[in-house]
Amino acid sequence: MEKTETARKKVLHVMRHAPHGTVYTYEGLEMILMMAAFELDLTVVFIGDGVYALKKEQDTGGIGIKGYAKTFGALRDYDVEKLYVDRVSLEERGLAPDDLVIGAQVLESREIGKLMDGQDVIIHH
């Protein structure tokens, strides 16, 4: 029992918004990068319009906003390795895993629910 209490806390970040319409995803990414510096068991899941944040070949030049899809691709360099994408959300938007900047694992909604159930903290963005 003592071991589980001292174990690293499991923190899940849920990305739910398209990347440039609101600041949620960008500031969410900032939070993930910050938390990566702590002794936490981090997971990031992309659902709904959140999957667009990972879309390859985004060009934000025309809207005057700094693009940051590549930073998601670099999360592994910060030891954030558990990245999941909701299958239905991808399909509803005509996207395939190959369209994404990172090799995130595709999960069924039910599995994402289970994943959420096993967390100590869930932060949605």
């Binding site: 029992m1 209490e5 806390k9 923190v11 600041v23 949620y24 500031e27 900032e30 939070m31 910050m34 938390m35 510096a37 702590f38 936490l40 100590d120 903290v121 869930i122 932060i123 949605h124």
Partner: protein, 152 residues
């Protein structure tokens, strides 16, 4: 006023966790209280989140729970400006947070990166609030029994 980390207090004993598994371990006489952290992601007046978070904190404290801190993120940092000046017949959301700090010691913490983006700095912040790094939120999430998020 600037704080990089909140000091970490020891984790609560398992029996005060509000979980069914642990219920039988709790002596009947012991009151089940929960240590709560709040993450507020919306600005005041524009969205109900500031009001809901405040009402929740108030109710939780009334029930004997501990609200350790309210961490302001995204537009939530605007909750901490003392420059807001609503009509007199309306609630003053910033003053209300300050009062919660004064009465119950609830820390009001604004993320430094989110604050800088939105022109919130210590010299315009309400009494009882502080600018913090995201490390403070991490510590809060780790040491509380529950972290509750308010906002879209």
């Amino acid at each position: 006023m600037y704080c990089e980390y909140i000091p970490v207090s020891p984790l609560p004993a398992p029996c005060i966790r509000a979980s069914n598994d642990n219920k039988e371990k709790c002596p009947e006489t012991e009151k089940t209280t929960v240590r709560i952290g709040i993450l507020l992601k919306q600005g005041p007046y524009n969205h109900q989140a500031s009001d809901t978070a405040y009402k929740f904190a108030e109710a939780a404290i009334r029930k004997g729970h501990t609200v350790e801190a309210v961490f302001l993120y995204n537009d939530g940092v605007i909750n901490a400006t003392r420059l807001m000046d609503p009509p007199r017949d309306d609630r003053n959301i910033a003053a209300r947070w300050s009062e919660l700090n004064n009465r119950h010691g609830v820390e009001i913490l604004a993320c430094i990166a989110a604050s800088k983006r939105r022109g919130i700095s210590e010299d315009i912040m309400i009494k009882g609030s502080a600018i913090c790094g995201l490390g403070a939120l991490t510590e809060l999430a780790v040491r509380c029994d529950r972290l509750l998020t308010f906002g879209d």
